[in-house]
């Protein structure tokens, strides 16, 4: 796994797709490839209240990445210092094996260049001390990106606040 953890606070997410749009803007992508995607489930009624789930689907940057193992040219790589999985596009021949290999559909096809593109946690931004584009501009600040053990324990704290009493 990468050293990083991208946490989506689903309580705050409003399913607006800002993350998808800014990602495409930042990577200058044409219509088609989506390096991250909000997948909406519902709305449906649960005990008289309408509820929906917005699942944020970037790349998971796996420890033993299927895409890296499958890539025949060495284009799909894992950065040793922090585990970010990325495509070296100079080496990509557009064979799409990584797209077949990934169980979660993370690698995407860029028809303009005839190569694979993929979420790299905006590693140029990370290297510059910034956050991935999706995290920075998320409308409701529902996305959090840190070294895995530094991500704020939002759910734990929220639960504790609800349960606690000052008696």
């Amino acid at each position: 796994m990468s050293k990083y953890y991208l946490f989506q606070d689903s309580k705050r997410c409003i399913g607006c797709h800002s993350c998808e749009v800014i990602c495409k803007m930042n990577k200058n992508l044409p219509v088609g490839p989506k390096l991250c995607e909000i997948v909406t489930t519902g709305p449906t009624f649960i005990a008289n209240l309408p509820r929906a789930a917005f699942t944020f689907m970037p790349c998971f940057h796996c420890e033993d990445a299927w895409c890296v193992a499958a890539c025949p040219t060495g284009a799909m790589q894992k950065r040793s210092r922090d585990g970010i999985v990325f495509v070296n596009q100079d080496l990509c021949v557009g064979c799409k094996t990584c797209m077949s290999a990934c169980p979660w559909g993370a690698p995407q096809w860029n028809p303009e260049i005839g190569k694979v593109v993929k979420c790299d946690y905006c590693m140029d931004r990370v290297d510059a001390g910034l956050e991935p584009a999706c995290v920075t501009i998320c409308t409701t600040h529902c996305l959090h990106f840190r070294k895995a053990n530094l991500v704020p324990s939002i759910r734990r704290e929220r639960y504790a606040r609800v349960m606690s009493s000052l008696d």
Partner: protein, 694 residues
């Protein structure tokens, strides 16, 4: 070399503060202004698609004059000199023959609106209108009838609210970034959200209570809430005793409107209504009954919006932490606002407005916005006089005024249609001359005065040079003005000069905006004293439940509730709304936004759909007496059986805006053009439609 530019977004009319990173005259990055609480980097999806607009080769690239029939798409690219000369000659002829008042200018309210108002006054025309009435004229009038302030002069303290009640105010999809974040923070702290809508929007899915109300009966619900609040003494007695005029009139009026009565009208169980009234009142005064943004559904809209603000008053929430407040201007702290060109002296205008606003026909709507949806009638009936020319400034009457066919017929009667635009809108497509503006990233704009708990000024600063042969509106209008003999009203040669002139008496300079994009007159929130310091601008100085504004024009403050007619068994009430990915009618051709929401669909209740053989995902034909069209069906339990819903802003006709051309169906094609003649809003939810498999 990278530089940062602080500016204001204009992908929608909220104008969120942004920070733009520029390198070699190219925009590398846009984010919410990190110095503004509630923004802190955030952008909504429309804001995130700003660079796609900047790069879009389908936006307007140069001045053009039409050479084929209207709407044929045959254009001649011309120089600015030729385009402006053409418009000036036409205007001069029209003004000479029919008078300045035969010219109308309609625009989406924007930072430079004072320039267009100046242009119109200088030519002797009272006929400036904004898009506002089409959206929320009745909310404006309702607020003035109670408080003496317009809706735009009031706002709400989302961050500290304990309970917010929204009537179709789909905040989490229409998205104003700061309010969304402030409300999210309040919910984190335990605030409750009650959402009332015949349709499950994405705001409904975040609600603690959702009421699928029978469409158009919100007023009945409110009268029942008021009934219970008064009966059970759930209101803020000290506040109403001090500040309300006409309390006893309200008391006797709501007697018959019991929760049981409202249950029959709204479909919401009486017990639920009582529970809501009790629960909300426990959190007073930190509660917000949201008066809405768009408030344009029915012909009695003003009373619905008044009932909301009466509820707030009963909760004592007007000028309360976590409730509503009156926006404070720089005058509150001894400061001066930016000047506007409209301060100048203009020739006196004797003729009435085209919408007859201020006469017995439409006495009460706000003349600073006018009532735009009257335009097609004024043109066709030549009442009160013939109109010959329309300047459509970032406003698209064909798509924004209900009854497309009626509007089109009216436009056919005009001698001159000029579009000042950035996109190939449907009205630009149908115009005679197109004058392109640079987009927000490519221009400096006038000063934006932001009143609120802390009065501020913001500046839209230019990030990059214009990509195409465009000019900002204040320059375009000045240059037309010079050609028709009113040049003296535009005392500037550049937007920068205009901004410096605006700032002259404020104590701030244009340089002060460089560091963060805004300046503040104070760093403290200003709340007035609730006991003695509330400055309502009504004749009585109080909150007028019994309104002198209404009374003086012969209108009742509390007319008997008229039951909302259900559609005939084979018909539906058409309702309309928005999604997070699009701004009204203006973003459907943006490549990134179009990719996610390319067209609209017709939401239809599962049981009703079964009854008429409509299948999910198949095409249906929707018809009204005004028009008909085809659209895909979305069969769902998420909508009330009496209603069908579609997103506004689709079904564009401008062929060269290829991504949005003929995608989906335009709701205005089906809607009839009728209005709340007291408040001023059109009644956009007042049309019944039939639906059948296509």
């Amino acid at each position: 070399m990278q530089k940062e530019v602080y500016s204001l977004c204009f992908m929608c009319s909220v104008r969120c503060p942004i920070r733009v990173i520029v390198e070699n005259d190219d925009v590398k990055w846009i984010e919410g202004n990190p110095h503004v609480p509630g923004m802190e980097g955030s952008l909504c999806p429309r804001g995130a698609a700003g660079i796609a607009l900047l790069k879009d080769h389908e936006r307007l690239q140069s001045p053009m004059i039409r050479i084929g029939p209207r709407g044929s798409g045959k254009w001649k690219k011309v120089s600015w000199d030729e385009a402006l000369g053409f418009v000036a000659e036409k205007l001069k002829d029209i003004i000479a023959q029919y008078g300045g008042h035969s010219v109308v200018l309609g625009e989406r309210t924007q930072i430079s609106t004072h320039v267009s108002k100046t242009f119109m006054r200088a030519i002797g025309s009272p006929n400036h209108f904004t898009h506002d009435a089409v959206c929320k004229g009745s909310v404006n009038t309702a607020c003035r009838s109670l408080f003496g302030y317009t809706d735009a002069q009031m706002s709400m303290d989302y961050k500290n609210t304990k309970h917010i009640i929204m009537y179709g105010r789909n905040l989490f999809e229409s998205i104003e970034v700061k309010p969304v974040n402030n409300l999210m923070d309040a919910i984190e702290k335990g605030a409750k959200l009650t959402y009332i809508d015949p349709r499950v929007s994405l705001t409904a899915i975040k609600a603690h209570r959702y009421l699928m109300i029978r469409p158009g009966t919100d007023l009945a619900l409110n009268y029942a809430l008021i009934n219970i609040i008064l009966k059970e003494n759930l209101y803020d007695r000290g506040y109403t005793d001090r500040w309300v005029l006409g309390f006893s009139d309200l008391q006797s009026f709501v007697q018959p409107y019991t929760p049981e009565w409202a249950e029959a009208e709204t479909g919401i169980p009486a017990a639920e209504i009582v529970a809501l009234a009790r629960e909300v009142s426990r959190d007073k005064p930190s509660v917000i009954f949201h008066f809405g943004y768009r408030g344009a559904n029915h012909t009695d809209e003003i009373y619905m919006r008044r009932s909301i603000m009466i509820l707030n008053t009963l909760m004592g929430s007007v000028e309360a932490k976590g409730g509503f407040f009156v926006k404070k201007g720089p005058g509150e702290v001894g400061g001066k606002p930016a000047r506007k060109l409209t301060e100048q002296k203009f020739p006196k205008i004797e003729v009435p407005r085209f919408d007859q606003l201020g006469t017995s026909y439409l006495p009460l709507p706000d003349p600073s916005h006018g009532v735009g949806q009257i335009l097609p009638y004024a043109i066709l009936d030549e009442n009160p006089y013939p109109l010959r020319a329309l300047i459509a400034y970032r406003f698209d009457p064909l798509m924004s005024i209900p009854d497309f066919n009626l509007v089109k017929k009216a436009m056919d009667k005009l001698e001159l249609i000029v579009a000042i635009e950035i996109n190939l809108s449907d009205t630009a497509w149908y115009s005679d001359v197109i004058l392109p503006e640079p987009i927000y990233l490519e221009r400096l704009d006038c000063v934006r005065q932001v009143n609120g708990l802390k009065p501020q000024m913001f500046l839209r600063q230019q990030a990059v040079g214009p990509r195409y042969d465009s000019r900002p509106g204040p320059i375009i209008l000045k240059q037309i003005g010079e050609r028709i003999g009113i040049g003296e009203y535009f005392p500037y040669d550049s937007i920068e000069e205009l901004v410096c002139w605006q700032l002259e008496e404020t104590g701030f300079s244009i340089e002060d905006f460089k560091a963060k994009g805004f300046v503040s007159y104070t760093d403290k929130q200003i709340f007035w004293d609730r006991k003695d310091g509330l400055k309502f601008k009504t004749p009585s100085g109080k909150i007028e439940f019994t309104s002198s504004l209404l009374k003086d024009e012969g209108f009742d403050s509390f007319p008997t509730y008229e039951s909302r007619t259900s559609p005939p068994t084979d018909q539906f009430r058409l309702i309309t709304g928005r999604c997070a990915l699009h701004t009204h009618i203006s973003t459907q051709n943006n490549p990134y936004l179009n990719e996610i929401v390319p067209e609209n669909v017709l939401w239809i209740n599962t049981k009703r759909a079964e009854g008429i053989g409509v299948k999910n995902g198949r095409m249906v034909e929707v018809s009204s007496p005004q028009g008909s069209g085809k659209i895909g069906a979305f069969v769902t339990d998420l909508i009330h059986p009496e209603a069908v819903f579609m997103l506004h802003g689709f079904g564009h006709q401008a062929k060269l805006a290829t991504r949005s051309y003929k995608k989906g169906l335009h709701d205005g094609l089906l809607m009839k053009n009728i209005s709340d003649m007291i408040g001023g809003s059109p009644a956009l939810h007042h049309t019944f439609v039939t639906v059948k498999p296509a």
